[in-house]
Symmetry: C2
Subunit: 345 residues, 2 copies
């Protein structure tokens, strides 16, 4: 919480006074009767709309999901919102609202909380979503945040992990491994600083990978571009824990196999070089690193021309039959089964 | 986690395998396309329904909200679900689903997780709600749970904290202070045990107050009874942090004052006697204890006869004008302003 240095800090007092203070900084979601001050978020369905309501919730725990020694609070607020909203996008939904329950210890000043929620506020403004629920609890154990995202989607437009078909093309947005590379660098600098507090951080040339880790953007642009180009994917998910886990999620749910091509993985040049300096194979980080929050989706072969028109999407492989399994085709043409620690039985 | 003693325990492996295992024990919420295995819960609106979707989320942290040395895991799962659902009821809503994100440390065995989620499963079955979202994370810091509840309500039936009018009657369901008394006893026994591990717990006569703390029920029965008797309250909230905080919530949102009568507070006889033995004034616990999860609501005077027909509801005071403030009228007819720690500025 380096933001706090030198400022006069305020100790938050009562729970409700604190909640009221934070809520007032947000656009009021009050529709005349219920508002953010009530027990529930009340989401009004569009008149005559048969849309499905989407809901996603993520739990973020200090020193598991983030490290406040190098994660600025404002970025953290923004990132947690972006991650929750990414799940709505992965169902082809339109995000409409956010909910947030925090657990904070008494080392958190009011200013620190405002910093964190300031990031959420910027996110809400940029992405046109409303904060519909906010609550603060005491925590003995560092910062804990439960972040919910709401959205809606017409049933015929809804995407899920289920739906990929044999011979579909596998596509991914953006590039992979850069965010995790940012995390590796931040962890390295932290260790260097702990060993010698006089050390100066050496991060000047790593702006891109740091930004990818500290400030991921939900890929609303990809969802829009797919709609504009009349491409309806057959399945979709978020790349949150590495490409391998995301591909296995889609293949398991769709009862299919896949081939991913190592040579087709979108890895940014700086990321590749940085990982090389660190003696780490970029493919490994792309497959199993995580923190990308890009979209992985499958499309029918007939949509090949349309997908070429969409910026920042790479075709990385093919859907195969279930019996073929899920594999990486390496640059020297070997088949390696995809694995992800999270799927360990 | 006394349940674990003597059993052979399984260490949970990968995140997704663990999530799959737990989800399989629940009724599948799959409607053919998306299901509990997807990134989001997809809640289908009733055909042609203009209902509002309600959403509530609560964060529960070990040693803040519960103590596992005396809180059985199955009860904890049930209670967390009951608390989240109570918020839906307070808006006069019908609960439809639950979501759950857990943070667990490696001292949690698979069996312990199953015990916890077993309580949630019993709740879902009894209260006809579905588990729509489930996720497990690692925690360094004890058990953390984010529990969400979903529901719906027709806009003209929705209740909120706002809406209480001068001269309305203030009503509360059930009795107050008993759950917190249970908590006091459990804390006392814990201290006695820590001082002398050979001590035997002395809780035989306290079944009621312990059950009130360990197994609160959402007051679905009250919501139904109000509808059956055509009583539409003017405002409603949950008594979660004591009667005073709940009354202040309604009065602040409705811009009114209130008089609550000490002599009318519903306090069970055993609770009263137990608190007397402990040299604690029952009124204080009713006002500022918490953990009741009863409903506090206001009704028009014309509904006086109808409310008498409803079992387990007490009239505890009147709504006054804003300038009168929020007060307790004591048994010796003194006016004491209501306060709640949570409202400290």
């Amino acid at each position: 919480m380096t933001e706090d240095i030198g400022k006069k800090l305020t100790t938050p007092k009562g729970k409700f006074a604190l909640e009221k203070h934070i809520k007032e900084a947000f656009e009021n979601s009050d529709d005349g009767k219920s508002g953010i001050s009530d027990a529930c978020a009340a989401v009004v369905a569009q008149e005559g709309s048969a849309s499905k309501k989407l809901f996603s919730s993520k739990l973020f725990l200090e020193n598991i999901h983030f490290d406040l020694t190098y994660f600025p609070l404002k970025h953290l607020g923004y990132k947690m919102a972006a991650i929750a909203v990414s799940d709505i996008l992965a169902m082809n939904g339109t995000p409409t609202g956010l909910g947030m329950s925090l657990g904070v210890s008494n080392r958190f000043s009011l200013e620190a909380l405002e910093e964190l929620m300031g990031g959420v506020r910027i996110f809400c403004k940029l992405h046109k979503v409303k904060l519909l629920q906010f609550e603060v609890n005491t925590s003995l154990l560092g910062l804990a945040a439960s972040v919910s995202a709401f959205g809606e989607v017409m049933p015929d437009k809804m995407l899920a992990r289920k739906g990929a078909k044999e011979n579909d093309l596998i596509c991914v947005s953006g590039d992979l491994a850069s965010a995790y590379t940012g995390l590796i660098l931040l962890e390295r600098e932290k260790k260097a600083f702990e060993a010698d507090p006089n050390t100066q951080p050496d991060l000047d040339n790593y702006h891109y990978v740091l930004e990818r880790y500290l400030k991921p953007e939900p890929r609303t642009d990809i969802i829009q571009a797919l709609a504009e180009n009349n491409v309806m994917p057959s399945s979709m998910t978020v790349v949150a824990n590495g490409l391998a886990a995301a591909a296995l999620h889609i293949c398991n749910a769709s009862h299919v196999g896949c081939d991913l091509y190592e040579g087709k993985l979108p890895i940014d040049l700086l990321t590749f070089q940085t990982l090389k300096e660190l003696d780490i194979v970029a493919t490994t980080i792309a497959l199993n690193g995580g923190e990308d929050y890009e979209l992985l989706f499958t499309i029918a072969q007939k949509d090949y021309d349309s997908i070429q028109k969409i910026k920042d999407v790479s075709i990385v492989g093919y859907v195969k039959d279930y019996a073929s399994g899920c594999n990486l085709v390496t640059n020297d043409d070997k088949l390696i089964p995809l694995t992800a620690q999270e799927f360990a039985e």
